[in-house]
């Protein structure tokens, strides 16, 4: 007999679908089937179950090989690293629960660490823009119930957030949108012919690195000021036409992704997109929302926010919190040799950071906490396997629109494997002992 767990949260992308149904074996140990998830979401659950999973911490040996050690040894090694370091970097936090983040922050305070999350390589620029000009936004249900103008700028939800369009943005019929996608105009801005772009009513193939100019041109058009013949490769008439389309809607939304947060102008692109949204509110109702990637990168920003007041790149080294991307961001810290130890949990910088930064991590004392062997674990001095958050242990997460959803546990972790919270709690306790001279 197998049993079914409903209303399961998918711990993969920022869409944070919460309607999955997972069939598990009677003993609660094995996932047998998954309903409602997209292919990537389902794969995430299945991956948790993959054979050959590591269940013991592993310490790097002088010859580069790894040797199994006990969790006690792993806890001690990690706590000692924090105790010795004068400015450790604690990176990741996007694929774990808010509860784990919170304990991580206690350790960070005690060790004078810098806490940074994956926003540093994706939507950190968005956060900077929000700090500069604010952000008019809404929850995803508002889009479903009201929106009739949808822009996807520099993002490709068909691939990166597969259920976004069916759950929230394009297809659903809501309270004031009972015609579903038929009453929605879809505009895609992307230099590529992405699958999302193929569905659009308007596709702007913006010149690489000229999003800022195009956004600015839309604002100029809204003010009926003169425009050059083409901007960013788009003819003036088209820009004016789309500006009219946006104005004439009842409720619009700009969704944007890494194509515009990490291209030339970075935070300024988002700044201009936010200001365009603000301008549109003089004509109709308009919102804007980042398509956050990791399922709980938003949560990391929230917990950092209420505990320290900044959403990422938080430098606690002086005993108080400071923040300045360009200085306190992980890749800048690594590039400039500002940190003397690296702790990674809930992300894989070995796969996502520039190779120069990865080399720096490899040279420093380092601990990687991850359910699996990853490129990061392969260069870390210690790899600590843990339970899969959202599959083997629950915990609070924040969706891309900041809505908090409590992830569920569906199966037990492998025998003896600690959760993030358990491991961090033990490190924190051990660190207290070391600080207390024990």
């Amino acid at each position: 007999m197998s049993k079914s767990v409903t209303d399961v949260i998918c711990p993969f992308c920022g869409t944070l679908c919460d309607d999955l149904e997972v069939v598990v074996s009677d003993d609660g140990k094995k996932i047998e089937d998954i309903y409602n998830a997209c292919a990537i979401g389902a794969e995430k659950f299945m991956h948790a179950q993959a054979a050959g999973r590591v269940t013991k911490p592993r310490m790097q040996q002088p010859d580069g090989s790894y040797k199994e050690v006990s969790y006690d040894e792993a806890v001690d090694f990690t706590a000692r690293m924090f105790y010795k370091a004068r400015k450790p970097l604690m990176y990741g936090w996007s694929s774990t629960s808010c509860e784990a983040q919170s304990i991580g922050h206690e350790i960070a305070e005690k060790s004078g660490a810098i806490v940074d999350n994956t926003a540093t390589v994706c939507h950190g620029t968005t956060l900077i823009a929000v700090q500069d000009v604010g952000i008019p936004s809404c929850t995803l249900g508002e889009i479903k119930n009201r929106a009739d103008r949808i822009i996807f700028w520099g993002c490709n939800p068909c691939h990166a957030h597969p259920r976004h369009q069916s759950r929230y943005s394009i297809f659903p019929r809501g309270y004031f949108t009972n015609k579903g996608h038929k009453n929605r105009k879809m505009i895609v801005v992307d230099p590529r012919d992405s699958d999302t772009a193929k569905m659009a009513d308007y596709h702007f193939k913006v010149e690489q690195g000229r999003d800022y100019e195009l956004l600015s041109a839309l604002r100029v058009a809204l003010r009926n000021e003169p425009l050059p013949e083409t901007v960013a490769g788009i003819p003036r008439e088209k820009i004016i036409e789309v500006a009219e389309v946006l104005k004439s809607g009842r409720f619009g939304i700009i969704f944007f992704g890494m194509g515009v947060t990490q291209s030339l102008s970075k935070n300024h692109n988002i700044d201009a997109a936010i200001m365009l949204t603000k301008d549109l509110n003089e004509f109709t109702k308009f919102s804007i929302m980042p398509m956050r990637g990791h399922y709980n990168v938003t949560g990391s920003g929230q917990v950092l926010g209420w505990q320290f007041g900044f959403p990422y790149a938080v430098d606690l080294s002086r005993g108080f919190a400071r923040y300045n991307p360009g200085e306190t961001t992980s890749n800048d810290l690594l590039r400039r040799d500002e940190v003397d130890a690296v702790f990674v949990l809930g992300s894989d910088p070995g796969a996502h950071f520039p190779i120069s930064s990865v080399r720096k991590i490899a040279k420093l004392p380092s601990v990687c906490v991850d359910p699996h062997i990853t490129p990061t674990s392969e260069i870390s001095k210690l790899h600590v396997p843990v339970a899969f958050v959202g599959v083997e242990v629950g915990g609070n997460c924040y969706r891309m629109d900041n809505v908090p959803i409590d992830a569920r546990k569906v199966v037990d972790p492998p025998e003896g494997v600690l959760t993030d919270v358990e491991f961090l709690t033990r490190v924190n306790t051990r660190l207290d002992q070391l600080i207390g001279g024990k």
Partner: protein, 266 residues
């Protein structure tokens, strides 16, 4: 005027935060007292004396105090932070936040400065003989009150985001800059004697930008007004005047919209 000379003798292994190096902190102090001022490396608090040989003594007031910093200070941040008067001469290349939130006095860097030099500057004279990094004379994150006053002169090139959210004062760059000059500028003056590739004056509300060299891609929200003969930084030249950013909000004065001004040298 009394002179205090700091000569670096021990390099920090991480970076040194030396926001105590200002005439304000040194005035009225003997060398030994200056050497006892705090400096931070990571989470540890040390003293300036651990890193610098200190000679001379501070004047009676900040205004009577001159500081000369010698040696490789490329791992030293915050020199001259919040200084209000007096003088600092840095003979080499200091790291980030040099002259940050400076309010007065004179700061001369004979080499290059890294990012965030002169951010939030309110007054004083800041000369960089080499190059400047990003965010020169910019606002601190989230603040809509960027540089308010004073003069920054860079003899070499500058990075991106100079004069971000600038409200007042003057920035002069003799060489070239990177992208984003005077973004969100509401007042003050930026003079670039070389080239500025693109994104010049984006979201500019007020203030003036002068570019002597070329701009590869103009922002779409700038409209040509007229040619003018102007005296800029002591030289006369002919400029084309543009109003912008027309995509941005602008105040009105006597029923007329007041734009930011972009002057391109003919």
């Amino acid at each position: 005027m009394e002179t205090v000379t700091l000569t670096i003798k021990n390099q920090p292994t991480l970076y040194l935060e030396a926001d105590t190096i200002t005439p304000d902190n040194f005035s009225g102090k003997k060398a030994s007292e200056i050497a006892a001022l705090h400096a931070f490396e990571g989470r540890d608090q040390f003293t300036l004396g651990k890193y610098f040989e200190v000679s001379g003594e501070g004047g009676a007031t900040a205004a009577d105090t001159r500081i000369v910093v010698k040696g490789n200070v490329s791992r030293v941040k915050y020199i001259g932070m919040k200084m209000t008067a007096g003088e600092i001469v840095i003979e080499d290349n200091p790291d980030m936040y040099t002259g940050a939130w400076m309010q007065g006095g004179k700061l001369l860097v004979k080499g290059n400065v890294d990012a965030f030099a002169g951010i939030g500057m309110k007054g004083g004279e800041f000369v960089i003989e080499g190059n400047a990094g990003n965010y020169l004379g910019a606002a601190y994150r989230g603040d809509w009150r960027g540089m308010q006053g004073g003069v920054i002169r860079v003899k070499g090139n500058a990075g991106s985001d100079i004069g971000y959210f600038m409200n007042g004062g003057t920035i002069i760059v003799h060489g070239n800059t990177d992208v984003h000059v005077g973004t969100h500028m509401e007042g003050g003056k930026i003079i670039i004697k070389g080239n500025a590739p693109s994104k010049v004056g984006g979201q500019m509300v007020g203030g003036e930008i002068f570019v002597y060299g070329g701009i590869d891609v103009m922002m779409p929200g700038f409209k040509y007004v007229q040619d003018e003969d102007l005296e800029v930084d002591g030289e006369n030249a002919k400029f084309s005047l543009f109003y912008g950013d027309t995509g941005e909000r602008h105040p009105k004065r006597k029923g007329q919209i007041v734009y930011g001004k972009l002057h391109l040298r003919n």
